[in-house]
Amino acid sequence: MENFDIIIIGGGPAGMAAAVSAKKAGAENIVILERDKVLGGILNQCIHGGFGLHTFGEELTGPEYAERYADMVRDMDIPYELETMVLDVAPKPDGCKAVTVISPTRGVCELSAKAVVLAMGCRERPRGALGIAGFRPKGVYTAGTAQKLVNLEGVHIGREVVILGSGDIGLIMARRMTLEGAHVAAVAELMPYSSGLKRNIVQCLDDYGIPLLLSHTVIDIKGKDKLEGVVIAQVDENRVPIKETAKLYPCDTLLLSCGLIPENELTSAAGIRIDRRTNGAMVNESLETSIEGVFSCGNVLHVHDLVDFVSEESARAGENAAKYALGAKREKCESFDIETGNGVRYTVPVSISPGNADELTHIRFRVGDVYKNVSVVVKSGETELVRRKSRILVPSEMVDLLIKKDKLQGISENIKVYLEEA
């Protein structure tokens, strides 16, 4: 059996950033396992700009951003295997992890690693999971699938488009379809606020005169073999459609941008604890899961809005995986859970062990609604660790808090994160 220090599952932005930093941290025997034919993951189909402002200080397209990291991977001689899918991860009695893979060249075989980094990304919520009534014709796509067909395969998928859900990919695809010569009649969003970034609403909808219908949803899909139209209705405060407001939008294409789901089937099967709020693994301050030596980062951990944050987080996961693989032991000291209070939907990590924290510990979370003029407060008992004022907090924008290591020393109670009126 082949043994590795670190096996990184996924060669998208998360996996590549983890690999690069793991190598920098001294791990030599690394491999990235990527199921697609190329490195880069979903970035390859994101041919629009807006990537890299934080990481590289310049605006790049998705493929350009991916290529920067792929170049680093190659320059640093980090091995990667393409068309290789991991079927199973299981801890072994000796502390190593058995990783079962399948590929055209390897066949089915078991590899072994001291540390594993989970970087499998996420998938889109399909029409079936949304429970929209109606027919099941051709012409209904998740936004990302449509993006792949249009941008990578050059397929012309439709002329008259309706988009349900205002997630970022949906907004980007509203613009993309317009530039492809299609007419986008509307973007309907169930919630009273968009689930996409403000800049995407401005650049992808407003600039092209595409209406965003907040508190609206699709209640019926027409057309037996090919899509002929969708019925959109306004919803009340309980998100129940108001039938009197129903309106038929004739269209041949319906794109769905209704949420991303971290792809954690491997993680669950390995017995790793999953956070039901994020559908990602529960991790500590080192991004280590409930199985020692297995780390998680990027969109498989929790869905990010910017790839720059994915890279930053994954670099930390890679570095910690390297430390673990090189034999560094965790400090035996108390760990404190992070509890969420008013307005805070979840946090990553879910616990912090001050003795094992880096100089700066990130706490990332999303709010459950739109909040104006609030303070984000992080407290342990009576000790206030962070207080940050915000003019506005929206669910579509992840909040990133930093806590200095010295602030964490001496805490003796669980940590609480909540919003307070400012």
Binding site: R35, C109, A133, T145, I221, K224, K226, E263
Partner: protein
């Protein structure tokens, strides 16, 4: 002139074709859709009913019992998924328990073995997810689950291997009686046949009326279903039926043969034979009724919902007979337990047709059929041997169901293979998982476009 034209390539039409292919006959199956099993066959409960429900003496009882007996052997010989998982009929009211006794008596009269009445507590012991409201249950050990697409495709492929012709994407527009037999008119030319079998599902009445003045009416009965991810498949191990309650006719909750969880169907008579749309109310009703039987059904893991139309006849029973027009045979009103009965109906249709034909045994008959090889079903040694022979079997295309490019190519390239996205899905399960084709459909579309020599945008999801 051919011997037999079968109108309809559903489970019944394909079963009849398979039976007829055991004889030296020229047989043609005609269907308006581009694949077999695209009508009622593709959207039902996928149950091989034990046979306790059908009224003794009816055709339903006769063919149900016979079909159920045949199914396991057929699944082995023709390589389709089948599992005897057992079933329960739940009773929620002490006053209704007499109805369980009635079912038990029917089972006895129909000759169904392994049927007993058990207490609510015993039912919960066997199926811990059942609700506390269950007072008693009928247990039927011989009930089973099957993959209806695989079964019908297997029948069709076996028939095809034995010389049956399939004219798909061909709409029958009329049937005329001639001195020598019939002319079946289609949108792609005429077919002359000595015998016609009408297995046209919800349109069997229309096809019947082409040649007969005797009334026959089919009412489509809509049934909506919710399918959940395989992570929910272990919620129950048996098929869980309900006795009718105040909420109306019950629904079932069952694992599927591929390990998903299925709940449904609703039952609503409608007029429109094309109306396979789901409705908000229908799906809500499935959830409400399902919750009567089983605690904490994980509706959140729903991956799709669908509607099937049962072809309900006007006699309260299957209509399987030579019509008043000699040589024109109806197989109409094949509602539940139609799927179970299909192979037995096929046998009988072959017998009916045989009365009008010279039946010479086909000595070259090929009895066995091999389905698409599913890599995940093999042990590691066989997996590696296959991947070594064809590396496409090492390339996973559908992540959710772990389906490889090799399997998809097989489904497309095999005789009577897939020509649509749904055709690939039904043969391989690619696209049938939790992401519903989000990741794999561009690749599958590409493979289909290469094989069919058409642009990717012209690859169909299903339909003609």
């Amino acid at each position: 002139m051919i011997d037999v034209a079968i109108i309809g390539a559903g489970a019944v039409g394909c079963a009849a074709a398979m039976e007829l292919s055991k004889y030296k006959l020229s047989v043609c199956v005609i269907d308006r859709e581009s694949d077999v099993g695209e009508g009622t066959t593709k959207a039902n409960s996928a149950i091989v009913h034990a046979g306790f429900d059908a009224v003794p003496g009816t055709l339903k009882a006769r063919f149900n019992v016979r079909g159920s007996e045949m199914m396991e052997e057929l699944s082995k010989r023709l390589d389709f998924a089948y599992k005897r998982n057992g079933a329960m009929v739940l009773c929620f009211d002490k006053n209704d328990e007499g109805k369980l006794t009635e079912l038990k008596e029917r089972a006895d009269k129909n000759g169904v073995k392994g049927v007993s009445i058990i207490s609510g507590d015993r039912a919960r012991e066997l199926e811990p997810s059942l609700t506390d409201e269950v007072t008693a249950a009928l247990l039927a050990e011989s009930s089973a689950i099957v993959c209806p697409f695989e079964m019908t495709i297997a029948f069709a492929e076996n028939a095809y291997a034995n010389g049956v012709e399939f004219k798909l994407s061909t709409l029958v527009t009329g049937v005329e009686k001639t001195d020598a037999g019939f002319v079946v008119k289609t949108d792609d030319g005429d077919i002359e046949a000595k015998v016609v079998i009408n297995a046209a599902g919800v349109y069997a009445d229309t096809v019947h009326s082409f040649v007969s003045d005797k009334p026959l009416a089919i009412t489509p009965r809509k049934g909506e279903y919710i399918l959940m991810d395989r992570s929910a498949g272990g919620t129950v191990s048996r098929t869980i039926f309900q006795l009718p309650t105040k909420m109306g006719k019950g629904i079932l909750v069952t694992p599927t043969v591929h390990g998903n969880l299925l709940a449904g169907p609703t039952a609503e008579n409608i007029d429109d034979k094309e109306n396979t749309a789901t409705t908000t109310d229908g799906l809500a009703s499935v959830k409400a009724k399902g919750a009567l039987s089983v605690k904490n059904i994980p509706w959140g893991s729903m991956i799709t919902s669908f509607t099937g139309l049962r072809a309900v006849g006007d006699r309260g029973d299957f209509i399987i007979e030579e019509s008043d027009v000699p040589g024109f045979i109806d197989a109409a009103g094949i509602e539940s337990p139609g799927l179970t009965s299909a192979p037995a109906i096929g046998e009988y249709l072959c017998e009916l047709a045989g009365r009008r034909l010279d039946m010479q045994i086909n000595t070259d008959y090929i009895a066995a059929r091999s389905g698409v090889i599913h890599l995940s079903a093999l042990d590691d040694e066989h997996k590696n041997a296959l991947i070594k022979k064809d590396p496409a079997y090492g390339r996973i295309v559908c992540r959710c169901e772990s389906i490889t490019e090799g399997e998809i190519r097989d489904a497309i390239n095999r005789p009577l293979g897939a020509t649509t996205l749904d055709g690939v899905k039904r043969r391989t399960r690619a696209g049938m998982g939790r992401c519903q084709g989000g990741f794999c459909s561009p690749t599958v579309i590409k493979l289909l476009s290469e094989k069919l020599g058409i642009a990717m945008r012209d690859v169909k999801k299903n339909g003609k």
